[in-house]
Each structure stands twice: as structure tokens, then as C-alpha cells.
Symmetry: C2
Subunit: 592 residues, 2 copies
């Protein structure tokens, strides 16, 4: 009911009107070749130098920075290096030969020849995060979000892909590495999605003991024989060698240099048996030996030898299918060897590697040796199997085996469940069930619903906002933290099971989904700051400052809402997504 | 769980570090005479001109503005006229002869002579609104907030002060003018507070028929006599004149030019009787005749005659005390006469006016004629009486007789109650009761609690957030709007009654206050956007964009919390106030 007097005359610096001020207007500007024009004062030529005066600018009575003044035009110029920090925005010079329009940046389409080299421009970016517009209605049988763009195993916080399980090992919250269900599911969902979007892989079968028989180098005193396996109804290779590398049976002269995904069916008899792949970096001429050995070992590196453990003695005498991205296996070995090097210095280009040889040692059987450009479904099913074998059958959860501290909340003890992990796992299992028809996946997914109904304090992931709205917690903190993006992922899991499962199970998942969507619609605006979003609601739970979402999380919120808008027509979803998208371009909610 | 790639190298524009960049540091900078120094590049001299290049800056791929580039220093300079609009901030050139430090601006203390004329500076103000630090623990018997700074009757949206009631008439939501309880209470509370903070007024008694007897000009055929009034136990003046101005009994040659608050006890017998005050603007030499007449008229202007109605025939034959700020009465007359002129053009300086004469016409009695510099308590009690005579005894409410539209909500029909109006009225009445001991004020205040317990839909002001927390609504909208500042004012009313009333009533007010404080603490963070506050919670109620508080409302939120912190030690109040204060200086909550 009060109006503060405005103590500065507003016209000391001219009012800015985008219509008057903009050079040209609207979408034409996306083409940086069109910027010559009639802007307010001064041409665009870089030869045009004008004298400005230095002036001190006192910022909020607190400190002073150096600015420039155009006395004649009544204008003050403020350095961008200050604005960047003060307002948390971004900017850079354009690359004159490839104008970075929004179009170009989002699609990686660089403008071609055309009208010559553009003037250098400064590109002011309120946010540099990306929006992913859904291409179609979301479908539990199809892509998961835009995860085809993810490359989970390449992340620095992935220690390696376990050779025993075929899934990533995280170091995010504990350096020693651990199975992080959320990450494993993202690994699975990205490979499932890549399988749908990428061209079919090139597969080079090196040996199948049937129609493709290769020439193996067999040292004296060693054996290799192709024998009929009645259970598989197929011929397999039986081999016997010494334990040392010199006596290995080896396949040399492998041509498919860049096909770096190895697949093999394998049964080892003794614990001194192993598979060895020799890989060369043809740029650096360095050679790596990647060993897959029956041991309770995750990853170990000695000189150029990189060891991956297939598991302890319990893995002997069992057939298993092994799928390895050799590029990743080398990469993670190098990162372990020199953890202090920057991740960039450790990076090996995929295109620089080629497989030199594949060798087997000890006593065992193998079959179906191939190198391919990718094998996404094999990775996907490795992860799906992990979710079957690692589910707690009592709680239905996939426990997180690490402590987790959220600032201001009591620490979560190892064993906590995450609604995001549960939802992601269900999204994986629903796809595995739909794709394979295997009911084991359906059973695991259904059991995975259980923690959605159990309060966080009782070991589940359920929270309630104001004793009224059910919320599925990414982190089951006390008090509740209400992380938005994890909640929406937990809803997608429910949606996926609802739309792929037989009716009785579908109904159960659908009920949880509907409750969650109701909560989302009632609570969504709690996250809206008028110029961005908050990551969670800890400000309400703890009475502290809001935990604002950085721009990439904000973009995730937008992307998730855009996806939900394809399956829920309530305008609050689509309208909020549009407004939140605007915040990334400097739009703000109005003030009163 | 996702990191967007950063697509621009961050070092294209140097990182800004306030420690390195600031010229000097910390509080020293508040003295603008101390800004010579060792800043990063370039001295402060205005003779120092450097050549910068013009460069186009593409804003969020949407439009282009003209910037400056220092190629050598890798710096881009952005015009402030753009930043002002884009980020909603303020700035202006300093006045070299009176450096506007925060100190100076808040206290109106201008730096004296000292170290000569300062360099011109540009003052970047994130917000220009004012913070009022409480000087002591809030006390219901003392100042109301910082309302001693308010000058309610001078506001453009006050049509005039009703001569019948002695309270302001609002035109905020209806041009014809109406009694707005919230505004009337603010008028009362500001005068009550001014009475405590201003020096005692200079009072010039012109006539009291006892010890001060003046020389009145009495035209032929007219009467003036001093007679004993047994009820008052005092002598009063009885007069009888014709109805025209020439036959008025008149007091001329009044010396106290600038004492413009007229007080008089008055009883008019016929409806052609009146009081006429002649006022001269000694700058413009224009003369105004302000008539107070017994008529159902608010304000009317004809040439230089300004008419205020004392009420209809029912006001005749009754003694009343009239207190008029003649400056305001002239001012409002001029505004009515020329509504199209800017309010500035209509402004008359108080110091330019002087009272020329005071005249009575018709038949009546009067006593105690004085001119004084102020008469705050008289205005205060006029308003307190208004609240007694205009309370709805059934509901306890002071109804708002106008429609009120809040964007997105159903229109409030005339007669709606406001928790802010109720609370403000109770703050007035509690003070009137404490100051006078008159129980009529206490009874009215107590009855005023009633709407706090009645839901908005049933005609009260009570809302509930999430069916859980009681909230007293400034605007009783459906759904609830949860306006923060009005709610806190409603709490202050409860506090005031709680701390001034006898125990039974105090307990009743205290219970409502405690409920409200609980809600406030649980809901306060809902208003925190991490860089400002929202005015209400319409975004939650309606699912729309948050209605951000403009800076002066944000400052009101801060001021209110600072005041509440003096009576409630819960750290959430003081901590939130401090953080919100920081937002006014460009501080932001952290992002994750």
C-alpha cells in the first residue's frame, strides 16, 4: 500500500526501447549476415572508433568498477566481465566464419558459404543450456526422453564398466566406486534409445565355429577344437593353453580397426584362464593389453596392462555373454593410471584405436566372437539383468550403497532408496519386458513399485507435502527435499509400466502415476521463481535460501515438462514449460 | 543428473573478480571522495579518452544492440540503457556537489564541505527502495512501523479529507471517491506516529472567548457575543449575520502565515451558515476561499472558491470539532479543478500559503479558533471515531464499498472486508483506547476480530493454505491470493490489541496472532524467489506466473520482517529479512 519515492531522475540514462534500439528486427537477426542497419547511433564497422571517457561506477554503494561514458549520448557502458558474474549470464565472440545462431547451436548445423564472412559479433547468452523439443508423443516403447544423446560410460564420474556385470561403476559420492542404480538405468536407457536412433551397427563376426571359422595362432602344446554343444544346438570352440601370454591362442590381423565393441560367449574352467585384447593407438603407437580375468576385481592397471575382473571363482564353469566397448575400457584404464591428469589429457580418441589381436589363455570354451561399431541392446540387457539380480526382494528397492549428504539435511545412510532410481529401473525393465516378452522383467518392475508406497522414514521414497500431496523423493531426506527433476523421472517409470504391463499391474502403476501427476500440477508453481526455477523445496522444509537450479537443471525441468505435455493435456504443464523456456532467454515474470 | 556442455570458452571475456576489479574496497567506498585508486586499468580522469570499437551484440539470438569493444583488453561494454530494462535495475549520475551515498539517501543527510568536489560517478542501484531499520522493539503504544514518514492525505489517490468526517476519501479503485478503511487507518497511524516523533506544534489561539479574545470585524446589523455555555463550563461565541460574504464576521490580519492547521469548535444553526477561510499564495498572489458548509457535498470548486461539505441538515445544531489542514484543502481543490494537469503542476508549496482571514456567516456558535503547525492527535481521533461509527456491528467489519478486481480472480463485490483494513483499524483503535482510556475504542477493536475467524467465502477474511495454515487475506478472493504484506499488517493489529487490551480480549487476539505467526513461519519461504519476493501466491492458486513484488513492495516485506524480528526471536524471521535485504543489493541465492 506504499510507493517508495523514486530518487533518481530516470532520464539521466535514456530509456531503452528494444523496438527503437534493435538493429533490424525479429527473426531476420538470426542470420548474422543481415546486421548492417539503422541502429541507434554508430555504424557496424570495426574501423569506426569513438572516444569514450573513463568513469567509475559505484555498484550498490559497495564497490567501484571501471565503466565507459558517452557524455554526448547520455550513455554509460558497463563491462561484460562484471555483468557475467553479477547476473550469472554468458557470452562470447562469434566465430565470424560460422555464425553461431540458435539454430546452428542446437542442431550442430553450421551455416555454409553464402554471403561471405560476417562481421564479428558479441553473442549474449542468458543461458547456454539446451532445450530438447519432443519429436513425438512420449511412448514407453520408444526413446527415453532425449537419452540417445547421453553417453553415460564416458562420464568422468563413471569409473569403468564392470566386466562382471556389464554396467557402470560410479565414483560420484564415493571414490572407491559403487553400483549406482540411477546411473546404471541411465546407461541402459541411453543404449536402448541409441539403438532406436542410430543406424544399424556394422558387425564383423570373427569366429562362430560354424560358418565363420578363423585362423587362430595355436602355440605348440596348446589345443583348439570346435565341438558340438547339444544344449546350444551349435558348435563352440574348446581350448586349452598354458597360463602365460606366449602360449595363448591368438587371432591376429584383425581388419576392422574402428569397430571397437567386442562380443563373445565365454566359459572359463580355471581361475588362471583369461581373455586378452591387444589394442593400439595408431597416433601415439602406444599398445594396451586389456585382460578380462576371473577375479573379484573391478579394474586394475599395471604399465600397459589393464585388468577387468569377470567375478570370483563362482563365475567359472558358466557360460556368459561378454560385451565390451574397448574404447571405454582403455579410456577408464588410463584415467585410473593417471587420476591427477586432467580428464582431457587422458582422453583417447576412438578413431585412433584399433584392435591388434584377441587371445584366450588357460582352459575354456568360447563362441561368437565379433567386433562391431556398437551393440546397444547387449548393454541394455546387461543392465536389465543387473536390476533383476540386485533387487531387494523384501522392499522392492535397488539400494544405494553409499552415504549421501544434502546440505542442511541429515545424512542418508548406505542402503537408501531413490524414487528416481526406482523409476529409471522400472523404465528399463518395462522396455526389457516389452522388447523381450520375458516376464522376469515385468515381475521386477512391479516389485519396484513397492517403495513408492512407503514413507521415507520407513525406508521408502514417499513424502507428503503439507500432509496432502504424495511426492516420490529422489533423496528420501527428513524433512523432505522434494527434488523436482528426480520426481518427474519417477513418474516416467510409472507411466512406462502403466502403458506396457498387463492390466492388473498397469492399474497399480497408473494409480501411483495419477497421484504423482496431481501433486505435480498442484506443486509445480512452487518451483517457479519468476526468472528461473528452484531445484528442490529445501527452502520450505528447512527455512533457508532457495536452492536455485543452475541453467542445465532448469533446462531439464523444461525438457521434462515438454515431454509430459505430450501425454497430459492440462495446460498448466505446457504453459509452465513455455514460461520456463522463456526464462532461459532473459524473460521474467511481471512484477506488480 | 545431467550436465549440459558449455558451448562457449569462458575466457573469451575475462572472468570478473570483485576483489581484483574493485577500486579500493568495502565501506571506504561509501565516501565518494575516496575513489582515486589502483583499479584494473585506466585512471578516473574524465580527460582520459580511449578508443573503443563499435560492435553489434546479439541478445539471446533475438535482437541486436550496439555495444563497445576493447579488443586489446578482451572486454565488451554494454549500454546501461539496455541493462536497465533487461534486468530491471536503476542508475544515475552522481551529483558531484552532494555525493549520494546510501547514508545520505536514506537519511537525507547531505555530506557537507570536506574534501572538495568529487569526480562524477555513475551510481548503479539494484533497487532504489528504502529499508527502515526499527529503532526499538515494536510497541503497540508507540510508532506504527515507520508510518511517521507517511503523508497519506498528500497522495494523489486521496481526493480530499472529508470535512464531514475528517478522514481521507480514496479514488484508488473508483474515481468518484469512497471511504477506504485501510487508507483511513494509515492516515490515523501516520498522524499518531508523527505526534510521537515531531516536535510539539506551535499553536496560535486566535479566539477562545475566555482569556484570548480577538477583534472581529462585525458588519452593521450583525451580532457577535460571548456567552456562558453551562455544559462546556466555558464561554463560547454566538453570532448572527446575513448569508452573504459581505455581512460575515471576520478576523483579519492573521500573522501566523505558515501555521496552516485550523481548529475550531463549531455549531451551525441554519443550513445557509458557513465558515470561510481566505488563503493567499504570496508567490502567485492568487487568493483561495475555502468554504466549510453544511451540505451533503464532498468537495466542489468554482473559480477560486473551494467548498467542503460538513454533512447534511443532520449536522445542524450539533457542536463539532473541526480540524483542517488548509494546505491540503487548497491542494485538493486545485487538483479537482484541473484534473488533467500533472500533479506536479497543481502542487502548491506549503510555505507559499498564508491565512488572510477567517469568517463566519449565518447563525451559529463557535469557540477555540486556532492555527497551528500541526494537530496530529485531532486527525488521529477523527479517524478513530470514523471506525466506531462505520463498523458493521453484525460482522465486525469495515466494508470496502467498491468493486475490486485482482487479475485472474473473480471480482470482489462492494462490501468485501480486508484483513489489512481490519488489522489497521484495530491498530488505530488499540492506540486510541490506550491513549484515551475510552472503552468504546476497545469494544470496536474487539468486534473487529470477528472477520479473522470467518472464511472469505462466508464474508470474512480467513483463508487456509493447503487446508492447514490459517491466513488473513488482504483481498478475500476465491481461490485465496495470500498477499504477504497485507497479512503481516493484519498480524500487527492482532499484536497491538493483544498487548493493550485487558486479559480476556488480549487472549482472543493473541490466539489469532499466534496462529498467524505459525502460518507466516511455515509459508514465508514460499515468497522467496532467490533474488526477490513475490507479492502474493496467485501462482500457486491459479497456476500462472508468479506476481513478483516490485522493489518498494519487496522493501515493505523486509521492513515488516525487521519489525517482527523485534517481537519474535525465531531466527527464520531475522535471517529471511537479512537475505531479502541482500536481494535489494544484487545478492542472489546460490544455485546448485
Amino acid at each position: 500500500m506504499r510507493c517508495a519515492e523514486f530518487i533518481f531522475p530516470r532520464d539521466l540514462v535514456r530509456h531503452w526501447d528494444p523496438k527503437l534500439y534493435a538493429v533490424g528486427s525479429g527473426l531476420d537477426l538470426l542470420n548474422t549476415n543481415n546486421i548492417e542497419g539503422d541502429g541507434g547511433g554508430g555504424g557496424g564497422s570495426s574501423d569506426n572508433s569513438v572516444p569514450l571517457q573513463d568513469i567509475k561506477c559505484l555498484i550498490n554503494q559497495e564497490y567501484t568498477i571501471n565503466c565507459k561514458r558517452d557524455e554526448e549520448a547520455h550513455e554509460i557502458y558497463v563491462p561484460f566481465s562484471f555483468l557475467r558474474t553479477y547476473f550469472d549470464i554468458s557470452g562470447s565472440m562469434s566465430n565470424p566464419s560460422s555464425p553461431q545462431t540458435l539454430e546452428a547451436m542446437n542442431n550442430d548445423v553450421l551455416a555454409g558459404g553464402g554471403g561471405g564472412v560476417a562481421e564479428p559479433q558479441f553473442l549474449w547468452m542468458h543461458s547456454t543450456a539446451k532445450i530438447n523439443l519432443p519429436k513425438a508423443k512420449y511412448d514407453a516403447r520408444g526413446l527415453f526422453m532425449y537419452f540417445e544423446n547421453y553417453n553415460v560410460e564416458a562420464r568422468d564420474r563413471v569409473k569403468c564398466i564392470s566386466a562382471a556385470e556389464g554396467v557402470p561403476i560410479s565414483t560420484q559420492w564415493e571414490k572407491r566406486g559403487y553400483f549406482y542404480p540411477t546411473q546404471i538405468a541411465q546407461f541402459a536407457l541411453s543404449h536402448y534409445s541409441k539403438n532406436l536412433t542410430e543406424p544399424a551397427p556394422r558387425i564383423n563376426i570373427l569366429e562362430n565355429a560354424d560358418d565363420v571359422r578363423n585362423t587362430w595362432q595355436i602355440p605348440k602344446g596348446c589345443n583348439l577344437s570346435r565341438i558340438w554343444h547339444p544344449k546350444f544346438n551349435s558348435t563352440v570352440i574348446q581350448y586349452e593353453t598354458g597360463a602365460d601370454f606366449d602360449s595363448a591362442i591368438t587371432l591376429n590381423n584383425i581388419n576392422q580397426a574402428m569397430d571397437l565393441v567386442l562380443s563373445v560367449d565365454l566359459l572359463l574352467i580355471t581361475n588362471s584362464s583369461s581373455l586378452l585384447v591387444t589394442i593400439e593407438n595408431h597416433e601415439t603407437k602406444r599398445t594396451y593389453r586389456v585382460h578380462y580375468i576371473p577375479a573379484d576385481l573391478l579394474l586394475s592397471v599395471q604399465d600397459d596392462n589393464i585388468y577387468y575382473g569377470l567375478g570370483g571363482t563362482q563365475t567359472l564353469n558358466k557360460w556368459r555373454h561378454l560385451t565390451r566397448d574397448l574404447h571405454i575400457d582403455v579410456q577408464k584404464g588410463l584415467a585410473l593410471e593417471s587420476p591427477k591428469k586432467s580428464s582431457l589429457a587422458n582422453k583417447v580418441k576412438r578413431s585412433d584405436l584399433r584392435v591388434v589381436s584377441i587371445a584366450f589363455m588357460g582352459i575354456g570354451f568360447f563362441d561368437n566372437v565379433s567386433l562391431s561399431t556398437s551393440n546397444h541392446l547387449a548393454h541394455f540387457y546387461d543392465a536389465a539383468e543387473w536390476f533383476i539380480s540386485h533387487q531387494d526382494l523384501r522392499t522392492g528397492g535397488w539400494p544405494n550403497p553409499v552415504r549421501r549428504s544434502l546440505n542442511g539435511f541429515a545424512e542418508l545412510k548406505p542402503g537408501w532408496l531413490s524414487a528416481m532410481g526406482q523409476g529409471h529401473a522400472i523404465s528399463v525393465l518395462a522396455r526389457a519386458y516389452w522388447h523381450s516378452g520375458d516376464k522376469r522383467y515385468l515381475r521386477a518392475a512391479t516389485l519396484g513399485l513397492k517403495p513408492y508406497r512407503v514413507l521415507s522414514k520407513d525406508g521408502g521414497v514417499l513424502a507428503q507435502f503439507m500432509d496432502k500431496y504424495n511426492w516420490y523423493e529422489e533423496y528420501p531426506t527428513t524433512p523432505a527435499s522434494f527434488v523436482l527433476n528426480g520426481f518427474i523421472y519417477s513418474l516416467l517409470g510409472l507411466y512406462d509400466l502403466n502403458t506396457t504391463a498387463p492390466s492388473f499391474i498397469a492399474k497399480e502403476a497408473g494409480k501411483l502415476f495419477d497421484q504423482g501427476m496431481l501433486s505435480l500440477k498442484k506443486m509445480l508453481l512452487l518451483y517457479d521463481t519468476g526468472s528461473g526455477t528452484s531445484y528442490d523445496l529445501r527452502h520450505l522444509s528447512l527455512g533457508v535460501a532457495p536452492n536455485l537450479a543452475r541453467w542445465d537443471y532448469h533446462a531439464t525441468h523444461v525438457n521434462q515438462l515438454l515431454l509430459l505435455a505430450t501425454i497430459d493435456s492440462d495446460p498448466i504443464i505446457a504453459q509452465t514449460a513455455e514460461r520456463w523456456k522463456g526464462y532461459m532467454f532473459g524473460k521474467r515474470a511481471k512484477h506488480n
